[in-house]
């Protein structure tokens, strides 16, 4: 028995058959139930876990149709339009769904109807019923008002005027109904009867292309999965060729026999359709995920979907067939590394217009895009003047400037004589600077402009190592003494 808190009292929110046999009911107070049967077992409701379970089931239902939507806290909509023939007709499909859920230990009610509203009513009030087109009215007429998916208040007021079934509401004149009970009632009614379209919004975007293979014998070995991916990708290739596209995002869905679904997605740097390359990428991905994927009793359905596609430009090979596309090689290399080690495994620097050294270069995950598109022309006046002598910059920059201890400087504004960094003392033999770099005032307004101003020095120590130090803040201000930081090293 599951309890939940409603108002100030713990109430029963769900109960099993044995509890029902004890004449316990939903919404009964826990105190009352305990008084009747002191030995009942009560579990606190966990809506989050219920939600996760329902989403897991929705994932699993993906094997029947890509259009799966959640319905409240306890229902699923499956838009099976055009899918039923794959499972041997509507009845066979419904039986298959019911049977498989039963195998997994769920007590399900299913209904199949031309409209979501009618299917909802069929599932909840008739059980295991298939409604053909045109029969919605006959289905709904004897059902109670709850089958119309209307708010409890509307239902109560309808009942108070004597309209106790959906049939009675349908028979009543529409205009007074709309005036008295609002437009929602008629909307629901029309939706259920198919007079108005109702869209089921799927949880996941529908893949433009996907191929799948049902397996009589579940597979467990990674090698088998990889081979299947190769086969599926070969099928996918003809579809992609027909559309003149290549895959940019691919997803591999592995449906385990006991209902768990593994979803493995990967992106490619440039549109791809070669089955061998796709297989190679999934090889890396699967190798990386080896610990995370639990094959259990095996997978009985493997699906490969193209989530995003882009135009695939064919390259003309020369007659010797020796043309090599370095860009393609690098893109494939980056894809493989990323498939194995994650998105951030291959990085590229991008110059950013900023005078702050740490902001002047952005490190972004590798992508082909900036190489191909030319940046839009900016007006002349915005462009920074090209300097003949670019400022000296270190070749390595610390992620975060490291504080150093500077006991003394020759002049208040001058370079340090020696400093302590990482517990070692360095003697400064030569120094260049300062180069003053102020904060970006347009980005954030510092409390005190002087406090965030940095004076950079190039320093050479006694052994010839060259460093980039800075002093943050100025002497003689009102604030605390300036602090010194190590920011980078020179060659």
């Amino acid at each position: 028995m599951v309890s939940h808190r409603q108002g100030n009292a713990q109430r029963i929110s769900a109960l099993d058959e044995r509890a029902e046999a004890l004449h316990l009911k939903r919404d009964m107070g826990i105190a009352d139930a305990r008084a009747m049967h002191p030995s009942i077992d009560i579990v606190e409701a966990d809506p989050e876990a219920d939600r996760r379970l329902l989403e897991g089931l929705a994932d699993w239902c993906d094997r029947y149709t890509p259009l799966v939507a959640l319905d409240g806290a306890d229902g699923l909509f499956l838009d099976v339009t055009g899918c039923t023939h794959l499972f041997g007709g509507e009845r066979a499909m419904l039986n298959d769904i019911m049977w498989r859920f039963l195998q997994q230990g769920f007590d399900v009610r299913a209904g199949l109807a031309p409209t979501p509203g009618a299917a909802w009513a069929a599932a909840r009030f008739c059980g295991d019923r298939i409604v053909v087109s045109g029969e919605e009215e006959a289905l709904l007429a004897p059902l109670p008002l709850a089958a119309l998916r209307i708010a409890p208040e509307t239902r109560a007021s309808l009942e108070s005027v004597g309209l106790r079934t959906a049939g009675a509401v349908m028979a009543a004149p529409r205009a007074p109904l709309a005036r008295r009970f609002g437009a929602t009632l008629l909307l629901r009614l029309d939706q259920a009867l198919g007079r108005l379209d109702e869209a089921v919004s799927p949880r996941l975007p529908v893949a433009p292309l996907s191929v799948e293979r049902h397996l009589a014998e579940p597979v467990t070995l990674t090698e088998d999965i990889e081979r299947l991916v190769g086969l599926l990708a070969t099928t996918l290739k003809t579809d992609l060729e027909r559309r003149g596209e290549g895959a940019r995002t691919l997803a591999l869905l592995l449906f385990r026999v006991d209902g768990a679904v593994s979803r493995i997605a990967l992106g490619t740097s440039r549109p791809m359709r070669d089955p061998q390359l796709i297989q190679k990428l999934f090889h890396e991905r699967l190798a990386a995920l080896e610990q995370d994927i639990d094959a259990g009793y095996g997978f009985d359905l493997v699906r490969l979907s193209v989530l995003a596609a882009a135009a695939f430009d064919m390259a003309q090979a020369d007659l010797t067939g020796e043309v090599t596309d370095d860009g393609a090689d690098i893109a494939l290399f980056a894809d493989r590394i990323r498939a194995r080690l994650g998105e951030g495994a291959v990085l590229q620097p991008v110059a950013v217009e900023s005078h702050l050294p740490e902001r002047a270069v952005a490190i972004v995950p590798f992508s082909e895009a900036p190489r191909r598109t030319t940046p839009p022309k900016r007006p002349e006046r915005v462009q920074a003047p090209k300097t003949i002598f670019p400022p000296e910059r270190p070749i390595r920059l610390f992620r975060a400037p490291e504080p150093i201890d500077v006991p003394a400087t020759e002049m208040p504004e001058g370079p340090p004589l020696n400093f302590r960094w990482r517990r070692a003392l360095y003697r400064v033999t030569r120094a260049e600077g300062p180069e003053r770099i102020a904060a970006e005032w347009w980005r954030e307004a510092p409390d005190d402009a002087a406090a965030s101003t940095r004076d950079y020095f190039r320093i050479e120590d006694a052994e010839g190592r060259r460093y980039w130090l800075y002093r943050q803040g100025l002497y003689g201000g009102s604030q605390a003494a300036p602090r010194w930081f190590m920011h980078g090293v020179f060659a």
Partner: protein, 342 residues
């Protein structure tokens, strides 16, 4: 006098074998078409073995400093794993700088190809992440020519390096590792080396704070920073200023060279190495700074203007075979003297 086809075939087979032992590219070994293959073939082979790079101009990356190139038998092998060691982590700037200057030399030949820099998270945290602006200023490596790969674990970094080493679409691969991890053993380096050989691209193994240990790399250079000379201005060296990057290179391992030590200076403007003259060369500069500064500063071979230098190519040729791998510091600055005189 002509040689029979069989004998020529034998010579080629031998050369190929030698090339395999040497770890150079066998396909580069074909004799230039029409080159007379006569009795000098044996001498040629000797040259290959001693490695003066006369026969294989393309298999080595000349560093551009004659004594070091001679000591390394023509430069660093292009299609191989080369180890570049730093003694301490704080030398990372010099070690990375030297590797990048080599990469910059390679990029002069392989235009447009990117350089991949692989490192573990540890080394990037300890020694700093490569800063693209600085690389552009000092080594002429454009940001779009750079790719980085950061792996939290050494195994992953090694895997990336192995995958990258067999790519011909990368100009060079830099793998940066700290210390002496057990995984980076003879087998791992042999795999890297073999892949680099078959792809014909260099792989630089940067090892910070590492002890030398047996690896498959044919060359190991130990880099430490050297104090830079002051900046040179029209009025002479600017006291207290920090000039071009300088490195002290010692050959830790090489099949041809004796251990030696060289001080190199990187010229960021022309992207070439200059050799730092010995102590007396520097005192020369101090004594008589004006001509030396303007001549040695910007260019590698500034002697063209002066008529007195005509005799010197012959002298240089006479000296260099005799010196072999070691640069006698007394003889190197010899060509400066006529300039002082003139």
């Amino acid at each position: 006098m002509a040689i029979s086809a069989v004998a020529r075939e034998t010579v080629f087979a031998l050369r190929r074998q030698i090339a395999k032992i040497e770890g150079t590219l066998p396909e580069r070994l074909q004799a230039p078409a029409g080159a007379p293959l006569d009795a000098d073939a044996d001498a040629d082979l000797t040259i290959v073995r001693r490695g003066l790079a006369a026969a294989l101009p393309d298999a080595f990356l000349p560093i551009g400093v004659e004594p070091l190139d001679a000591a390394l038998s023509g430069g660093l092998p292009k299609a191989a794993l080369s180890e570049i060691h730093g003694l301490e982590t704080r030398d990372a700037g010099a070690v990375a700088g030297f590797a990048l200057s080599l990469a910059s030399l390679i990029l002069k030949q392989a235009q447009g190809l990117p350089v991949l820099w692989i490192g573990t998270t540890e080394i990037f945290r300890e020694a700093g992440f490569p800063y693209a602006r600085g690389l552009q200023v000092s080594f002429g490596v454009e940001p779009r020519q750079l790719l980085f790969s950061e792996a939290p674990k050494l195994v992953d970094a090694l895997w990336v390096a192995e995958e990258a080493a067999r790519m011909t679409a990368l100009a060079a691969v830099i793998l940066e590792i700290r210390g002496n991890p057990q995984r980076l053993d003879l087998t791992a380096t042999r795999r890297l080396h073999a892949r680099a050989q078959s792809a014909g691209r260099p792989v630089f193994l940067l090892r910070q704070a590492a002890e030398p240990e047996p690896t498959a790399a044919p060359v190991r250079l130990i880099v430490s920073p050297a104090p830079a000379v002051p900046r040179e201005t029209v009025a002479g060296p600017l006291a207290g200023s920090i000039g071009r990057p300088a490195f002290t290179i010692s050959i830790g391992k090489s099949r041809t060279a004796l251990p030696g030590q060289f001080t190199l200076e990187w010229n960021p403007d022309e992207r070439v190495f200059d050799e730092r003259r010995g102590e007396e060369g520097r005192t020369d500069r101090a004594k008589n700074p004006v001509p030396v500064v303007s001549l040695s500063g910007g260019r590698k071979d500034p002697a063209a203007a002066s008529g007195a230098v005509l005799a010197f190519p012959a002298l240089g040729a006479a000296i260099s075979p005799a010196t072999g791998g070691q640069p006698p510091s007394g003889q190197r600055p010899a060509h400066l003297s006529p300039r002082r005189a003139g």
